[in-house]
């Protein structure tokens, strides 16, 4: 790693409390520009809460965050221009067509008129949705929606792409396609990728560095070989279970979250 490598995500002593419950408990970490970083942990460990704070959706209780050099608390718009995100659950307007969803995003992100069409076309072709651009999103399968969301997240050429469990509910073909494409982008555009997943072999295959978080605290952080060595494990999964234990976590999800999850697990394809 050269001296000039820029810390594109830099988090110091980040805390988030909800009514006395500490979801994120004083974590610090950084991600270098161009890195693929996996953020792992059992259900309810604090992954999504952290992503929400990094992406300006939640106000941290305390601590410091810098995204591309900007603060998500004080320089929201600059931070928002810096990243693209694919949320855990879909965030498309299902009544609009694929193209309209893309165009909508381009306008919100102030992409110049002359670039807009070209970029949308390129991206939709890349995720193989160009020939269905005029179809309403509600007729799409789960995998198609995910591809569209990724394409949408890239229209404004973000420096960082956040992916919150991007492969949940997708078949292996779509998953492969998705990661192949993201790795390419990472190489070609030096785009930093920050993702969470429950598929540990996926993280092992793709990520440069990994952090494992549990009960709001980072248990370990570093390269895969380092994590395996430190925990004396043969696989990432073994290391993960050693660090986070075997008990099953009950995520304190609201009825709404559970409904969404069910919708995604079972209603993904039509």
């Amino acid at each position: 790693m050269s001296e000039s490598t820029k810390k594109i995500i830099d988090v110091k002593n980040l805390v988030k409390k909800f009514d006395g419950f500490t979801a994120v408990d004083n974590i610090s970490f950084s991600v270098n520009e161009g890195e693929i970083f996996a953020f792992l942990g059992p259900n309810g460990a604090g992954k999504t809460t952290t992503i929400k704070m990094l992406t300006t959706l939640l106000h941290p209780t305390s601590g410091e965050i810098k995204i591309n050099g900007f603060s998500p608390v004080h320089e929201k718009d600059k931070v928002r221009h810096s990243f693209g995100i694919v949320f855990q659950d879909p965030s498309l307007d299902e009544e609009l067509t694929a193209y309209e969803n893309m165009e909508f995003h381009a306008i919100l992100y102030n992409v110049k008129e002359n670039l807009k069409e070209e970029r949308i076309q390129n991206l939709l072709k890349l995720v193989e949705l160009w020939d269905r651009k005029d179809e309403q999103v509600k007729h799409f399968s789960g995998g198609m929606k995910r591809r569209l969301e990724i394409a949408r997240g890239l229209i404004h050429h973000p420096k960082i792409l956040f992916l919150d469990e991007p492969s949940l509910g997708l078949d292996p073909q779509t998953r492969n396609f998705l990661w192949k494409y993201i790795k390419e982008l990472n190489k070609k555009e030096k785009m930093t990728v920050f993702f969470t997943t429950h598929y540990l072999e996926e993280a092992e295959k793709i990520a440069d560095n990994i952090a494992i978080i549990d009960y709001g605290k980072i248990k370990i952080i570093g390269s895969i070989s380092k994590i395996k060595k430190q925990t004396n494990s043969k696989s990432l999964e073994e290391a993960f279970l050693k660090l986070t234990g075997h008990s099953i976590r009950e995520e304190s999800a609201s009825a709404k979250d559970r409904m969404r999850l069910r919708k995604r697990m079972h209603g993904g394809r039509k």
Partner: protein
């Protein structure tokens, strides 16, 4: 046109236009009211010296169509919350008031269109506005109540977690607003307590304004109607924008 306000507006229009079943569904109710009440109470109203009941009722039903559509459109923000689209707008590098202003305008436009359709339909069953010029003025009142109640819907939706509260809002806010607005009956000879309630209800001024413009008979005065509505619409839009800007998910 490339501004966030415009795309938020356009989105509402497109969603409206694409849900034909909802357009028809939300026209059926006002039409039913107009026909059942209009013809049902017509003879009694006439006997009591109130004149043509359809003439009296139609402006009230136009206001009703706008009220229901506008509130529903505002509350749809919960839907966006539930189905995720809200996040897309909340993380966009755009001032939230622009997002919400565009959305309010879009919702209000849709409500206005519904009101205009009910207006047109009511002419088929015998409603006759006094002049075209004044009919245009009635659209000002339609627009004001459309803005007011879309913003109110958004303000409420910003505070609600899920659609379960929706029925509660219909029963405890929308229905009382409608029934206590003078849409269905004249307010002159009501008991004082009821009169006060009606005068506190902003929709009453909308109903009166539309009725005054379309039939020439206003109880509160068009000027007062306009002032009250303009101020309330403005204040509620500000409150709605503020509450929306505080939404965290």
């Amino acid at each position: 046109m490339n501004s966030p306000i415009y795309v938020m507006w356009l989105r509402q229009i497109k969603r409206y236009w694409r849900s034909k079943s909802r357009i028809i569904g939300s026209l059926a109710q006002p039409l039913l009211f107009l026909i059942a009440l209009g013809f049902g109470f017509g003879p009694i109203f006439q006997k009591a010296g109130g004149g043509d009941y359809i003439e009296f009722l139609a402006p009230g039903i136009i206001a009703m169509a706008i009220l229901f559509t506008a509130m529903f459109n505002g509350i749809e923000v919960i839907w966006d919350k539930e189905f995720g689209f809200l996040k897309e707008t909340l993380i966009a590098p755009v001032l939230r008031y622009k997002i919400i202003f565009g959305r309010t305008l879009g919702g209000a436009t849709v409500a206005m269109i519904q009101g205009a359709i009910v207006f047109a339909l009511s002419m088929f069953i015998g409603f006759k506005p006094i002049s075209i010029m004044m009919a245009l003025i009635s659209f000002v009142f339609m627009f004001l109540i459309a803005m007011l109640f879309t913003a109110l819907g958004i303000a409420i939706a910003s505070k609600l977690e899920d659609m379960q509260g929706f029925q509660l809002i219909m029963n405890f806010i929308v229905m009382p607003l409608f029934f206590l607005s003078g849409a269905l009956f004249p307010i002159d000879s009501l008991p004082t307590a009821l009169k006060i309630v009606i005068k506190l209800n902003p929709l009453s001024y909308g109903v009166d304004g539309i009725r005054g413009a379309l039939t020439g008979i206003s109880h509160l005065g068009l000027f007062l109607d306009f002032i009250v509505l303009a101020i309330t619409a403005f204040v509620i839009t500000i409150i709605g924008s503020y509450l929306f800007s505080k939404v965290e998910i």
